[in-house]
Structure formats: C-alpha cells, structure tokens
C-alpha cells in the first residue's frame, strides 16, 4: 500500500499549520494515493473543508447530502473520537486527525 504525504504550502495570507489528516486507505483514490494530507483550520469542519478544497472528489466519501459527516465516517482527533461535536470540534496546531470508516465486514 502506498504511503505518501502531501505537503501543501499555505497560500498568501494563510498562516501555516501543522494539522495532519491520516486518510483511510479506502479513500486514497480521492487523494492521489496520499496517505497523509496537511490542512489548515481551527475546527474539524474547517480542516475537512480544506481537505475537500485540495481534493474535491473526497467530499462524496465523507459527507452526506445534508452536509453532516456520513453515518459510517468517524474522525479521531489525536486519540479521541470527535463524536458528537464532530465538525464543530476545535482543532489545535499540531493535532493529528484520522479518518476512520466503520466497516466491520460482517
């Protein structure tokens, strides 16, 4: 399995942050096979918006039609689940996010 990292440079006026998102392997198809993507944002919602900005196709793998996270998508912030705050969860510089997909397989 490929394990590449995307180091996006902040655009003008953007303050550089080091929030890393670990992508679920089943979503690599939307991130050009990148396992880790760096994003900006002070809430989980903003971080995911930035991820979608970089990789628009990943939106379908994360969000329901109503804009909430899909029922089987759970995001971990460091070692804790973001549920139930989810998109409103505050994010700090240096935090590490994991996109997990609930797929027990039977």
């Amino acid at each position: 399995m490929k394990k590449r990292e995307c180091n996006r440079r902040p655009t003008d006026g953007e303050e550089e942050m080091s929030v890393r998102i670990n992508i679920h392997p089943n979503l690599y198809q939307f991130t050009n096979d990148q396992a880790i993507v760096k994003v900006n944002g002070s809430t989980l919602g903003q971080c995911l918006d930035d991820l979608v900005k970089q990789f628009p196709q990943i939106k379908q793998g994360l969000f329901a039609k109503d804009g909430k996270l899909l029922s089987y998508v759970e995001i971990y912030v460091n070692q804790e689940s973001s549920y139930p705050e989810e998109l409103a969860k505050p994010i700090n510089d240096g935090d590490e996010l994991h996109i997990t997909l609930m797929m027990a397989g039977g």
């Binding site: 089943n26 029922s71 089987y72 070692q79 689940s81 549920y83 797929m103 027990a104 397989g105």
Partner: protein
C-alpha cells in the same frame, strides 16, 4: 446473587429431570453461557459419537449477566456436537429467552437422550414437564410458538423452537425464538430435531436477586451513557447491522456470485438507506438493549405478504442478495422471513445456493442434477423457493440440506474447488482476500468459517496506532492489508468475544465495532459489581483463554488439527477483480498465512500443530480436564 442458579438436566429417553446448583468454582472458570456450555459439552459428550444420535448433548445456556439489567444482557447460547461439522457446535441468539430462563431459576438446560415421540419441554419456575408435541410437528416456528401459547394458556412464556428444517434433520437447521431470534450456526436445530424436541417453553416469575442494587443502577446508567456516545452505535440504532454494507461493498469486500466477484455494482437497492426509507416500520430491541439494532418490516412478497416481522440483519444482504447476485431488497426481506419460519441458517443456505448456481453456470451440474430447475443467478423464485425445498428435503434441496462436505461428495469432487467452507461450515458473504486478519479469523475459528468468533473490525477502521496499542497491549501493524501482528490480534479478539458470549452481553457493544466499547476490564467490573463474584481483569482474560482452549480441545479430540485451519483454495489462487483499486488483485499469500498461523498459536500457547502445550493447560487450569468432576 446468581450463584444459586441451577442447571436443569432433562433426559428425554427416560423422562427424568434433575436440578443441580452451578458451583462457584465453575463460575470462576467459565462464567456462564458459552463458557459453561463448553465445559458441559466437553465433559458429557464422548468423542466420536453421532451428532444426530441420542448420545449427543444439547446445552442451552444463559450468560452470567443476562437479565441483570446490564446493557444488552440478553444472549442465549446453544451448544452440542455439530451435525454439520462434527466438531464443537455453537449458536447464539438475542431476544428474551435467556432472561426468562434465569427468572425461572435456571442458567443452563441440558438435554440428553431422545424422546419416543415429538415433545416440548415446559418450564414454569420449579415445575418442569415433558409435554406431547405431536400436534406441533410439521408446523413452522411462528405457528409452533402460537400453538404452545394456546395449549399452555400463557402468552407470556418464551419459546425457542425448530421449524420443519430441524424436524427433517437439515444439518444447518437453526433454533428460532420467534419472531426472528436465531441460534443460527452449526445445526443446533437439527440436534433438537434428532431428539424429537420441538421446543422449549419457559416462564419465570422469580426474578434475580441483586448483589448491590444501587451499584447496579449506577453502573447501568454509566455504561448506557457510554454506549450511546459511540457513533457506531448511533448508526447501528438507525440502520441496524446493515449500516456497514455500503462501505464493505464499495471497498470490494463482499462475496458476489458465490466467490467470483467482490463487489456488487448494482447493489444500490441493498443499501441500508433504502431499507430505512422504504421498508422499516420502526426499531425494536432485545431485552436491556439501548441501541435497537433491529427493525420491524412488512413482508413484501409471496404467501406471507403483509405479515409484520423483524430484521433484517446485515447477513441477509449477502445470503439472499450479493452471493446469489440478487439486487432486489424485497426478495431479500421475504427470503429472510421464510428462513426464519422454516428454521434455516441464513448464512449456510446463501453460501450453498450460490455455490450450486456457480456449478450450474459452469456446467458442473445440470437440470438432471437439480430436478429440472435452472439455477440462474438472481432468480427470485429460486432464492425464495429453494428454502422450502431444503427445509423439506425435497429434490435438489435434499442435497443442499446435507451441508457443504456431504453435498460435495454427492455432486463430485470436481465441485469442491468452488465451495467456500472451513471445517465443514460455510463462509458468510464477506470477502476476506484483502484483509488477512479476517481471513485468519475464519480459518481458525472453533466453529468453522465464521466471523463472530474473532472478527477484528478495528483492523479495518484506520484508527490511530496508539489507540490500538493501548487496547491490545502489544505492538500492532496498523494496516489492514498486512499480515504481521494479526495472529496476536485474532487471539485477543477470540478471548474477548468468548468472555462476551459467556456473560451474555451482546458483542455489538464490544470491541467488535469500536475501541471504546466493552472489553476485559469492563466485563470484570460488571461481573464483580453485579454478581458479587470478585474477578479481576487478569482473571477474566484467563477465562476467555480457557474457554477458547477448551473448545479447541473438543475439536482436537474429534480429530481436528492444523490442517483444518486453512482457507479454501480459491483464497490463495484467485485474485480479487473488483472494488476499490487497493483491494484489487488480492489473494491470501500462503507463506504469510502460515506465519500468521504460527503467531496465532504462539499467542494462545499452542504448539505448531495447534495443540495446547502442557504448560499452557496448567497455566489456565485445564491440566486435569479429562478427570473433571461432573456437575
């Protein structure tokens, strides 16, 4: 509190009934439910017996925390030597049967012998009778329950029974507690049928004494809050166990057309949202369950159209959907109801029918073999109609009724390659070729190709490595396509689920779905605070290992060894072809599978043939297993 609960021994040959108190020493070794059933089966069943003969022993066990008010404490375990595999037979169902057993004073009901004519066992607290069931023979499970209620004049008694499949000794007949609670796997319904035991009806009015009522209520509130904070449980409560179908199918981890494809591209109708929007008539729950993972629905087709029933489970989508290449949810829902009425294991049926369809497609069997039936993929009439033929052993159904190994012998060795079974038990609808840990789990399971002994779903989630290592307490390779450390992972889950099944707490709220749900330390705390039997986390880990090892010993005594822990050939030689890119082209690599197997044996303290070493047996208190004092 429960330490005064009894085991009820019923000999159907002699008509005698005996009650024995379950010793505390036995509780400390095996808790209850699946654990004490393992002890009973190992102690009372002589090796080499015919599973469908009167010498087989059927044990129905309530978990140690069932009916106590602990969340999801509802499970009934049913064990016997399996007529399907010839090995350790084990089935587990939810609902409300086991709590009622406990309220009548019994934690285990042990059936031996064989009745001359059809009977049912009637229990009301201290009163126990073997009653005539000749008028029930030939009835389906729903009719049986209703007739028993009428005969006994008691709508409140709880019933577990067999349908026509069990009567006809279909080797994968299940036990049903209507409307849909199924002790599904390994043919426990056939064992009941072989004993002429149509049903057990129980009514308990004694309740359970509580060790410390305040602590129990506080603990219940705390644990319920924790369960309902889990996103997995919210999804499960909304969509049922089907909620994982979309991700598994998108990934390409689903069996389609038996084992030819691993993704159903036209499976949109099987999505949980479709059921939720178009069929669900609201959620229902087992005793003490705050999740409500099952739903009511109206049967959409056929003879029972319009009947309100319960379900469906995730496994229905595979057995009646993807495996047989049927994209219609209405057919799935109807077939699920029919299986429950006739009392058939859904997973076994779906796997065998899809195998037969592939054989027909490839010309390995023809209409001459099938009695003129064209076994075409996705044909609703076949999928629904063959259920009755299997249950009644009519025509080609009689061949499928024998289960995989015997059906292979009847249809020819050239059909073996296409059959997906391990130790004589068919696999479910998941495709494990891209997930080595899952593959090992079904390979080594003590009851055959089954996921509920160990499935380490956490391996698939992409959790932070530290979360996993805090849980397992050993280093893990956090990549579901890798083989390293997965042997240990399977061993850990086997032990955790053995404890879960012995407490009777549904494993939906265990580490099956989330790292934040129940594991060893939680079970130790519940047992200690609810029953007053002080057990540490370390002791409860040993209990899990002891139970699993004893099941292994049962199988070894019947001739099983390392050779039986491997996968069907197709797993090694046919690469996956569909699904997401990362899951294509995957096979299980033989050498690496062997490496996992060795690591798994090492974890349990077994030798390279998978036999527990003398040191291991001594460490977990099984060194004198052959000379045990019987109950």
């Amino acid at each position: 509190m429960e330490l005064k609960q009894k085991a009820l021994f019923v000999n159907l040959s002699t008509g005698t009934v005996e009650k024995k108190v379950l010793r505390e020493t036995l509780r400390r070794k095996f808790l209850g439910g699946r654990g004490i059933d393992a002890y009973i089966l190992y102690s009372y069943i002589k090796p080499g017996i015919d599973p469908l003969g009167p010498e087989n022993v059927l044990s129905v066990g309530a978990g140690f925390l069932v009916g106590s008010g602990m969340p999801c404490g509802s499970r009934t375990h049913i064990g016997a030597k399996s007529p399907l595999t010839g090995l350790f037979g084990s089935a587990n169902m939810g609902g409300d049967f086991a709590p009622e057993m406990r309220y009548a004073g019994y934690d285990h009901i042990v059936i031996t012998g064989k009745a001359k004519n059809p009977v049912y066992l009637w229990i009301k607290d201290d009163d126990v009778e073997i009653r005539d069931a000749q008028t029930l023979w030939g009835k389906n499970t729903w009719e049986t329950e209703q007739l028993i209620h009428e005969m006994d004049g008691d709508q409140e008694e709880r019933v577990m029974c067999i349908g026509q499949a069990g009567e006809n000794l279909v080797r994968y007949a299940c036990v049903i507690s209507p409307p849909k609670n199924a002790g599904g796997r390994t043919g426990m319904g056939a064992v009941m049928g072989s004993k002429n035991l149509k049903a057990i009806a129980v009514r308990g009015t004694k309740g359970l004494p509580v060790y410390d009522p305040k602590k129990l209520l506080d603990l219940r509130a705390e644990l319920t809050h924790r369960i309902l904070k889990s996103k997995a449980m919210i999804a499960c409560g909304t969509y049922g166990t089907m909620f994982i179908f979309s991700t598994a199918n998108t990934a390409g981890q689903i069996r389609v057309r038996n084992f030819q494809l691993n993704q159903m591209v036209n499976g949109q109708d099987l999505e949980p949202e479709t059921f939720h929007e178009n069929y669900s008539a609201g959620p229902v729950a087992c005793v003490s369950c705050p999740i409500h993972c099952r739903h009511k629905y109206v049967v959409p087709l056929g003879e029972y159209k319009g009947t309100i029933t319960e379900g469906p489970e995730y496994t229905y989508l595979g057995a009646f959907g993807t495996e047989v290449d049927n994209p219609r949810l209405d057919v799935v829902l109807t077939a699920g109801h029919l299986s429950n009425l006739y009392g058939l294991d859904v997973l076994e049926y779906g796997s065998l029918l899809s195998w037969a369809m592939e054989l027909y497609e490839k010309g390995l069997i023809t209409k001459e073999d099938t009695g003129g039936i064209a076994l075409e993929w996705g044909d609703p009439d076949i999928i629904m109609g063959m259920i009755e033929k299997v249950a009644k052993r009519e025509g080609f159904g009689d061949i499928l009724a024998e289960g995989p190994e015997r059906a292979i012998k009847k249809l020819g060795e050239d059909t073996r390659y296409y059959n997906i079974n391990i130790k004589g038990l068919s696999g479910l609808h998941s495709d494990e070729r891209s997930v080595p840990s899952f593959a090992l789990g079904i390979g080594v399971s003590t009851r055959g190709a089954d996921h509920l002994r160990s499935r380490p779903a956490l391996d698939l989630l992409n959790l932070p490595k530290k979360v996993l290592e805090n849980l397992y307490q050993f280093e893990v390779v956090n990549n579901y396509q890798q083989y390293e450390t997965k042997g240990k992972m399977i061993g850990w889950h086997e032990e955790n689920y053995a404890v879960s099944d012995s407490t009777g707490i549904c494993k939906t709220i265990s580490t099956f779905f989330s790292p934040h749900l129940f594991m060893f330390k939680d079970y130790a705390r519940m047992v200690s605070e609810v029953t007053g039997l002080r057990i540490t986390e370390e002791e409860i880990k040993d209990i899990g290992r002891r139970i699993y090892t004893l099941e292994r010993l049962f199988n070894i005594r019947e001739g099983a060894s390392r050779k039986d822990d491997y996968l069907p050939e197709r797993f090694y030689v046919e690469p996956t072809t569909t699904g997401q890119e990362i899951n294509r082209g995957k096979v299980i690599e033989r050498e690496k599978y062997d490496m996992m197997l060795d690591e798994y044996y090492d974890y349990h303290g077994w030798d390279r043939e998978g036999r527990p070493t003398p040191e291991t047996l001594k460490k977990i208190g099984l060194e004198n297993v052959e000379g045990w004092k019987l109950l």
